[in-house]
Structure formats: structure tokens, C-alpha cells
Amino acid sequence: MDTSKRYQAGTMATELVMLLIGLVFLVPFYFLFVNSVKTFGDLLTNAASLPASLEWGNYVRAFQTTNFPSAFFNSAIITIVSNLLLVLISSMAAYRMVRRNTRFNRVLFLLFVAAMVVPFQSIMIPLVKVTSTLGLMNSIPGLIICYLGFGVPMSVFLLHGFIKSIPAEIEEAATVDGSNAYGVFFRVVLPLMKPMLVTVFILNTLWIWNDYLLPSLILQSQELRTIPIATFAFFGQYTKQWDLALPALVMGIMPVIIFFLFMQKYIIEGITQGAVKG
């Protein structure tokens, strides 16, 4: 009796402490949102207070100066197309490597695993040379090809681990029924891989959507800018103009925050899965 009471009091204390930490975690968002609707004078005099008046016009001006729809559209196209192609080519490669365990495929797999340790920055300089030789510079398809190259190692690695857990007998049954290798893969194996495909999709989405360095090296034209590049360019131009910059930042983070809130369950699961297999 006594212990259960004390336990409850302890849990409540923990809960309060955690709520307090939660509030501290939210403080940056408070500052961001509150000041994004203030006049420039208002946010300079007191950034902590609530706005004296709601200046939604800040958003209109930021929307026009950053050309937000174009940046959003570019980011979305790059993220979606890279993801679909990555999931497709990685699952096909992983499947082949598991089911045809030849020496060549074993070496290839080892190379993929080894490449996961290579930091992007240690190959970015020659990459610029290679991409310009191949004519991939300043083009969205070119950037997508780069994402395919960089995404393949981890995607193959995660899917490889997953396919190993799928019993080969299921495929043999389909082969007996007269399906060829491609039919077996697309009709039998691919649907079974769904949980890990979702994980790969989530991890790659967060990476590609937020990536700054690679697109900044590949894309130069203004009309090809993604959200991180447009934000960076905007800050270079309007330094310290917070009444424009803050609404631009809010618009910049909103898509990924909304994605997170809707997909939270899958994201958390995906990260756990990705970490356990990694």
C-alpha cells in the first residue's frame, strides 16, 4: 500500500520533470513561430513576448521572395523520384545478392558495406569533376543519379538483411507455378519486403529532403533550387531581416514537420529497424 503510493508520487515527479524538459525542447519553436508574425521593430524590442499585432503579410512577402512553390516542387520531385528508383534498384540488387550467393556478389556486397563508412565530404571534390564530365551538372535528373549512387549502399544493406529472413520455399512454389525470375520477384518477393521498404523509404526521405551540400554542388540555376538551397541563398541576400527570414524558415520546415506528424509511427519504427540491422 505504502510502496504503491510512493511509486505513484515518484512517477508523477518524473512526469513533471519530463514535461519541463519537453517545454525546453519546444522553446526554439515558440521563438520561431511567435516572431515570424511580428513587425521588425516588435521582434527587435522583445523577442520573447507574444506579438503586438499579427503581421501575416510577412508570410506573403517571404513566400514571394523565396519563390517557395518552386523550391518546394523541386525538393518534392527530387525526393520522390530518387526514393522510388532507389527502392527499386536496391531491392532488386539485394534480392539477387542473397539468392545468388556467388563470389562476385559477395565481393560486391562487401564493397557496399565498406562504402557506408566513406564520408560524403571525402569524395565530393572529385565527384564534381565526374558529374560535370558525365553532363549531370545543373540538372535535376543528374542530382537524382547522384542520390542513387549515394543511397544504394545503405538501402541494399538493409534490404539484404531482410531478404535473408524470407524463406526461399515461397519463391520455389511460385517458380513451380510457372513464373519466371522477374515475375517471382515483383509478384512474390517485393510485397513481402514491404516493412523494410518502408524503413528504407523513410530514412532516405529524411536524408534527401534535408540535404544541402550535394544539391548545392550540383544545382546552380535559381529555378532548380531546393528548399535548403533557397533558404541559404535567401539568408545570404537578406542578412538579419528576421521579419522575412523567420516566415521563410517556418515555411521551410512545415512540409517535413507535417510529414513527421502523419508518418510518426513509421518513422520511429523505421529508425529502430534501421538501427538494429545497421
Binding site: 532488386m92 557496399f112 564520408p119 572529385p126 543519379i145 541559404f232 527570414a245
Partner: protein
């Protein structure tokens, strides 16, 4: 028989070909080229590239103060950042496995900073450090908030550490939670019956059992902090006076601002070796501490 063999080759090409091709084009070739360029005086523009032997490496190790500064900054940042984000991540996870009413919403809040890219986060925090902290300081009179956060070398360093921990702790928390949920309940109960207090339980049972998660979390945190670039760029731009320039940023500037591509690639190779050695040492070290439940 022959037909079967050629169909196998076609299948290999169809299934594994595209992934292999992109991998070779985008990772293998640049990596090998980088190795070659690190022994040259390539400037990125002119077609003429001449072999200079080890002189780039020699220059980096003997006379490149900026690289040395950036290396020590990155090392110091990695040690503190990795330690703090893991401690906080574990602490949050440990408390979130208690039966709290608000645990789901708390988990969402702690994780949320992680979905935002480092570049945008850096800009958001620039505002917080410059305007937000000042406002808190003015209304509370707390001198911690009125420090010139991005203006001095010491505070700018801590500013980056704070944002890094805020951004990454939630991710590690998710991994620690799933590991804590796998600690067998009967072991906890047995220890309770034996009269173990909370601290003993944590030290002798829970921490040894979650070492696999710690291996992963340390690995992730080390590679994030070592490769940090975006946050650095948008929060401090390496300033003040280059004191917070990360190795990644130093490599970037060497090539793309100063046009010394040969020197830049040599730094990039050194960077690769350091990351590879540190991460593999760490995995080996923590793996040896893992126990079976």
C-alpha cells in the same frame, strides 16, 4: 545449358546492374580519382595536372594551421557532443519507459527537431542565440542568456554543441527505448527481490544489457558530429575567426573557395582515414562490452 547460363548473366545484369552502375559512377570512381588527385596540384579549372608526390600531405601535416584548428575543433566537438547527446538520449529513453501519461506526446516532442535539416536548424538557432536569448536574459536578469553566444570562440563552440544535442538526442532516444523495452522483465523483478536499488539496477543490469544499442548510438553520433557541415555553415559559418570551422568545412573551403583541389582531396583522404579508424575502433570497443541476456 548455354541458354541457361546466358539467362543467368542477363538476370544478374537486370537485377544487380543498375545499383552497381550508379555505385561505381558516383562513389567508386570519385573515390579513386580523389586518391590520385591528392598527389597532384590540380586546381579544378586548368586541364594541366601534375604529380607532386607527397607534398600535399606534407603541407597539411607541417604548415596548415587552419586544418589543425579545424581538426581539434572537430575532435573536441565530437567528444563532448557524442557524450552529451548519448547521456541525454539515454536519460530521456529511460524515463519514457516509465508509465507516464504523456509519454507519446513527449516522445514526439523530443524527436521532432531531428526531422528538420541541419541547415534550417542552424538559421533558426541563429535567431534564438542572437535575439531570443537576449530577450530571456533581459526579462530574467540571468547572465547565462546575455552572453555574446555566437560572438566569442568559447561560447560559439558551446552554441554548436547545444544545437547538436537538441537535434540528435531524440533520435538516439528512440533507439535506446526499443532496447530498454527488450530488457527481460523477470531480470528486473529478480533484482528487485534481491534488494537492488535503482542505481545498482541501472549499472549492473540495464546498462550491460543495452550495450548493443549503445554501440549503434555511439557510432551514429560519432559519424554525425565528425561529418558536421550544414549546422556549422548556417549557425556560425566557422566563425568567430575560424574557431568553429569543422574539418568538413575546411575541406570544402580549400577546394571550392581557394581552388586548391589537390590539397583539398588530400585532406579529404585524411578525413576518410580518420573517420574509418575511429568508427571501427569504437564499434570494436563497445562490441566487446556487449553481454547476452
Amino acid at each position: 545449358m548455354n541458354g541457361k547460363k546466358s539467362s543467368q548473366i542477363i538476370q544478374q545484369l537486370v537485377f544487380a546492374g543498375p545499383a552497381t552502375l550508379f555505385f561505381i559512377l558516383i562513389i567508386v570512381i570519385p573515390f579513386l580519382l580523389g586518391l590520385y588527385y591528392s598527389f597532384t596540384n590540380w586546381n579544378g579549372v586548368s586541364g594541366e595536372v601534375s604529380w607532386v608526390g607527397l607534398s600535399n600531405y606534407q603541407q597539411i601535416f607541417t604548415s596548415d594551421d587552419a586544418f589543425r584548428t579545424s581538426f581539434w575543433f572537430t575532435a573536441k566537438f565530437t567528444v563532448l557532443g557524442v557524450l552529451l547527446t548519448n547521456v541525454l538520449g539515454f536519460f530521456l529513453a529511460y524515463l519514457l519507459t516509465k508509465p507516464l501519461k504523456t509519454r507519446n506526446i513527449l516522445r514526439t516532442i523530443f524527436f521532432m527537431p531531428n526531422v528538420i535539416g541541419g541547415l534550417l536548424l542552424g538559421f533558426i538557432w541563429q535567431f534564438i542565440f542572437v535575439r531570443g536569448f537576449t530577450a530571456i536574459g533581459d526579462s530574467t536578469g540571468c547572465s547565462f542568456f546575455t552572453l555574446p553566444w555566437l560572438g566569442t570562440e568559447n561560447t560559439a563552440f558551446w552554441a554548436i554543441v547545444i544545437v547538436f544535442v537538441w537535434q540528435t538526442a531524440g533520435y538516439l532516444m528512440v533507439i535506446y527505448i526499443s532496447s530498454l523495452n527488450n530488457v527481460p522483465k523477470d531480470m528486473i523483478e529478480a533484482a528487485e527481490i534481491d534488494g537492488a536499488n535503482r542505481f545498482q539496477m541501472l549499472r549492473s543490469i540495464i546498462i550491460p544489457l543495452i550495450m548493443p544499442a549503445a554501440t549503434i548510438c555511439l557510432f551514429l553520433a560519432i559519424s554525425w558530429s565528425f561529418k558536421m557541415f550544414d549546422l556549422n555553415l548556417s549557425l556560425t559559418k566557422g566563425g568567430p575567426f575560424g574557431s568553429t570551422e569543422s574539418v568538413a568545412m575546411n575541406i570544402y573551403n580549400e577546394a571550392f573557395s581557394k581552388n586548391r583541389y589537390g590539397l583539398g582531396t588530400a585532406k579529404a583522404i585524411i578525413f576518410f582515414l580518420i573517420v574509418a579508424i575511429i568508427t571501427s575502433l569504437q564499434v570494436k570497443l563497445t562490441k566487446s562490452k556487449e553481454v547476452e541476456a
